[in-house]
């Protein structure tokens, strides 16, 4: 388990965190700065502030996949989960699944609370106010409530609308668990594994599974609060009570997890705010490209789908599943061994069954790397026949949740693009890719690498990324 503040130090140590002083921001809203850094595939940003908590953006997102880069969109998250940032994407997916509901856990461990300093008011936190916002905004929060059966976590976001009042949105499933217990704790700056768990439980509609029955309990030390258990290393804990279950809350801001399950507004009264001595909390430029909440939702969904499809047929033909934040979660990409003719149809349609986020699926060959979105974005057009391999369902499917079209409930078609080779084709039909490995014999490759390396000492692989 890596506490949030330690995680930021790790990013800094990797030269992947840029620190901005408050006076540098002038009057530019932090969400605009955060969004521009993400658009530019720049570093995560820490906002050092004299008044209020420090902020951090881009910490759960990362560089986009539209260019070949050393780091991947999920590399930061991997670091936050205690993995090698350069490790495999599948290891990230499997680690995420391990945080969720588990058959048996060792039970939670407990530690002392890092947040020991009482903050006068929630306003004193100085949460960021976005360019389009009327009030200071809370994003990337983790709600915690407790019942007799245990503690439940879920994502929460909203606004501070008064001196001690929040308007928030959280999964309806969490609100339903309150059942007379009107206390909710909001944890900000939790360990990445904890926030990831909250997102995973939301996108899989497992909010009603207690944390004590999830893998995260084995990994993240906890501490009780008035709401429920929260990670002991939490930067800021806001203990609240529900003031209104049906507040008049007109904001149309939605964090990305809300495309996966029903959410509900709540009005909360703040009872107590505690923080660490030098608190730092993450925020997401919600609604802007590549926002952190988008990336968290995409990776959580990919982990779920990867797990489900590979546990469905008794074998594991699927190499990886990806919901690129670059496509705002409206497209699902899957790399697979096409086991037999028609398998691609079966796979696409089972993915449609398991997620309502997207209407469009791209199927690519098993040898396509998840780090090579560029190849996916080429192969869909050159490998897939424009009429035979763009396969539309009949027009009776419900519209997916993420796209903007057909929000009136009308049915329509789904689409999968088969950019994998047809298993019925003879080998001689399969056009070999132009790669360094296929285009040159070993002796030429070695001579070329040597020649290139002599002029580029820093590039140990001689520019041959297939070897890396």
């Amino acid at each position: 388990m890596i506490p949030f503040a330690q995680y930021l130090r790790g990013l800094d140590g990797d030269d992947d965190l840029l620190t901005l002083a408050a006076d540098e921001l002038a009057d530019i809203p932090p969400d605009i700065v955060a969004a521009e850094a993400l658009r530019a595939s720049g570093p995560a940003i820490r906002y050092d502030r004299a008044d209020g908590v420090d902020l951090a953006s881009g910490v759960f997102s990362g560089p986009d996949g539209m260019q070949r880069r050393d780091a991947q969109p999920w590399s930061r998250l991997a670091l936050g989960l205690g993995l090698d940032p350069d490790g495999s994407f599948v290891s990230v997916l499997e680690t995420i699944m391990g945080l969720g509901p588990a058959g048996q856990t060792d039970g939670p461990t407990y530690d002392t609370q890092a947040a020991s300093r009482t903050v006068d008011s929630v306003q004193a936190l100085g949460l960021p106010q976005g360019a389009d916002d009327v009030w200071p905004a809370l994003t990337l929060g983790m709600a915690s409530i407790a019942t007799a059966d245990g503690t439940y976590w879920a994502p929460i976001h909203g606004f501070i609308v008064g001196d001690e009042t929040f308007r928030v949105r959280t999964p309806a499933a969490l609100a339903a668990l309150l059942d007379g217990n009107e206390t909710i704790s909001i944890a900000l700056g939790v360990p990445p594994a904890a926030l990831m768990t909250a997102y995973l439980l939301a996108v899989t509609d497992h909010v009603a599974v207690p944390i004590q029955a999830c893998g995260v309990a084995d990994d993240v030390p906890l501490v009780p609060t008035n709401g429920g258990l929260v990670p002991s290393a939490t930067e800021v804990v806001i203990e609240t009570t529900v003031a209104d279950h049906q507040p008049d809350f007109q904001s149309d801001r939605r964090e990305a997890w809300e495309y996966c399950l029903e959410s509900t507004p709540l009005a909360l009264s703040v009872e107590r705010v505690i923080a660490t001595d030098e608190p730092v909390v993450p925020f997401s430029p919600v609604g802007r490209p590549l926002a952190d909440d988008l990336q968290l939702t995409g990776v959580a969904t990919a982990a779920t789908l990867y797990h489900r499809v590979n546990n469905y047929w008794g074998i594991s033909p699927v190499e990886w599943v990806l919901l690129p934040a670059e496509a705002e979660l409206g497209i699902c990409v899957v790399a697979t061994d096409v086991l037999y003719a028609g398998f691609e149809w079966q796979l696409a349609n089972i993915l449609f069954t398991f997620s309502s986020l997207f209407d469009t699926i791209i199927i690519v060959d098993e040898d396509v790397a998840p780090t090579d979105l560029g190849r996916v974005l080429g192969d869909i057009w050159v490998k897939a026949h424009p009429s035979r391999d763009w396969i539309f369902s009949d027009a009776s499917a419900p519209a997916a949740q993420r796209p903007r079209y057909r929000q009136d409930g009308q049915t329509g078609s789904r689409l999968y693009v088969n950019a994998a080779w047809d298993p019925r084709w003879e080998d001689s039909y399969i056009a070999p890719r132009v790669t360094f490995e296929t285009s040159f014999p070993p002796a030429v490759r070695e001579a070329a690498r040597t020649a290139w390396r002599t002029r580029h000492d820093g590039d140990a692989a001689g520019g041959d990324h297939d070897r890396q």
Binding site: A40, S41, P43, D359, T360, D372, W381, V382, K383, Y405
Partner: protein, 504 residues
């Protein structure tokens, strides 16, 4: 510094630290291509192979010289034409379109003033194999010249027609040309010269100046000449010179000019070749024969070549860059001239000939169909399979923004439109047809027909005016640059300089 010759252009690369010389012998037999592929994969410097092994020639090879930087592929062409480096895609397109609106007729030089006549070989003195044509991929059918301009006669223009067709070398005086019916020069050969039993004079111009190479990639209106548009691009006339053995005129500063004629009713093997799709394509087929009559060249000619197949996905090479930097602005202007209210027509970065992105507003019902129909039946007939239409507020140069538009706006039920299913012609270079479907039709198109499609990824909602946000965004971008983030990705900052910032 503007570039009036290929050598000027190489100097420009030197000044930018974007060229790396190899003095030691490097073989034309895959080795030069392998090193170039590494350069392309790493966005590295353009390799110049000064000493090409296994030839007696004093010629040098240059690997993918027109490949642009991944973040802004058009940047080096901009500098070649005297524009600023660091322009956003939209600003570059605007500047190029402005230039193309003012074509400039070429100037004809006396032969003694033409650098491409430094050395002249005619008749028995011609030896095509004395030049280091590269063997590019080990599964290719032979050695190729594939980064040149084919000059052919055109009764409509004084300066002939310029186009690009790869050429496979067969012996000291013969090559085969990939002529695909549907393109202008091949059509003239297949449907005019060959039926008359008449050889078609042509010249292959190797190592032409950047403006020439760009206009070669353009689809120029009937009756106009690429030469005049090349002059427009660089804002002064292109120098031409008469050929030695036919009536054609060729760019005078070229490194190498191969004069000859395409024989009627003769064919030689051509292909397979690893082409722009990023895959080896075949099968080997029969293509028209180019018989060489003369070769003229500069002293120590620099012979450019393209490692095709590396300009897909994340990669860039000369041909993908030329699509983005030359074909795109030309198509934008062409569509505007045809009456379509197009903001930008931009090749899709990841496979630049197969898919184009068109940013425009839907000015009337059916306009997208009309535009797609227009292009699919004209210049986009053979190579382009897909159009993606996005709102004019979407930056068509930003593939992430385009991908988002597809994901969120394109309804599989109503916004994917297939054209002429299994009725459209197709180049046989594609990889989604079987060899049987491609066949070996005489004029070079596939035997089996295919389909085309367009995707309407425009929004159904009224667009918001976000001028205020854009101002804030620009300030945020400047803040990040001041804090050390590289300025390269920031489209709202004008005149960015290379190398600024120390992060990414």
């Amino acid at each position: 510094m503007a570039a009036d010759s290929f050598r000027d252009y190489l100097q420009l690369l030197v000044a930018d630290d974007a060229l790396v010389s190899f003095d030691e012998p490097v073989s034309w037999d895959l080795e030069a291509s392998a090193i170039t592929m590494l350069a392309n994969r790493t966005d590295g410097e353009v390799p110049l192979f000064e000493s090409v092994g296994a030839t007696d020639s004093d010629a040098a090879l240059v690997g993918d010289p027109y490949r642009g930087p991944r973040s802004r592929p058009w940047d080096r062409f901009a500098q070649s034409f005297g524009l600023s480096a660091g322009l956003s895609g939209a600003a570059y397109y605007d500047a190029i379109i402005d230039r193309l609106r003012s074509p400039c007729e070429p100037r004809l030089l006396e032969p003694e003033r033409a650098p491409c006549k430094d050395v002249v070989h005619t008749g028995a003195d011609v030896d095509l194999l004395s030049f280091p044509w590269p063997y590019v991929h080990r599964s290719d059918g032979g050695r190729y010249s594939n980064l040149h301009t084919i000059v052919a006669p055109d009764p409509e223009t004084e300066w002939g027609r310029w186009s690009s067709h790869r050429m496979m070398i067969h012996d000291d005086a013969l090559a085969s040309l990939l002529f695909l019916a549907g393109e202008q020069v091949p059509n003239r050969y297949y449907y005019e010269y060959e039926p008359r039993g008449e050889p078609m004079p042509v010249a292959a111009v190797v190592g032409a100046e950047p403006a020439v190479q760009c206009s070669t990639e353009m689809w120029i209106p009937t009756g106009r000449s690429e030469a005049a548009f090349a002059g427009g691009l660089k804002d002064r006339p292109v120098d031409l010179v008469a050929c030695e053995t036919n009536d054609l005129s060729v760019p005078a500063t070229a490194e190498l000019v191969i004069e000859g004629h395409v024989l009627p009713n003769e064919r030689l093997d051509e292909g397979p070749f690893g082409d722009y799709f990023g895959y080896m394509n075949g099968p080997r087929r029969s293509m028209p024969v180019f018989a060489v009559d003369a070769i003229t060249h500069r002293a120590e000619p620099r012979v450019p070549f393209c490692v095709e197949g590396t300009g897909v996905g994340y990669g860039q090479n000369s041909s993908s860059t030329l699509q983005t930097a030359a074909a795109g602005p030309d198509a934008t202007l062409g569509l505007q001239a045809a009456g379509f209210d197009v903001d930008a027509a931009v090749p899709w970065r990841f496979t630049s000939r197969t898919v184009w992105v068109i940013a425009m507003d839907r000015s009337y019902p059916g306009v997208l169909h009309e535009l797609a129909n227009f292009v699919f039946t004209t210049w986009g007939m053979l190579h382009i399979d897909f159009f993606v239409f996005v709102d004019s507020t979407v930056d068509a140069h930003d593939p992430r923004a385009v991908l988002t538009a597809i994901a969120l706006n394109a309804d599989p039920d109503t916004d994917f439109h297939q054209f002429g299913v299994e009725r459209m012609p197709k180049v046989p270079l594609n990889i989604y047809q079987t060899p049987d479907e491609k066949g070996s039709a005489d004029v070079g198109t596939s035997k089996a027909k295919t389909a085309k499609a367009y995707i309407d990824a425009t929004s159904d909602r009224p667009l918001e005016d976000d001028a205020e946000t854009e101002s804030l965004r620009a300030r945020a971008q400047q803040l990040l640059v001041d804090a050390g983030v590289s300025p390269e990705p920031f489209e709202l900052l004008e005149q960015r300089q290379y190398g600024g910032g120390d992060r990414r």
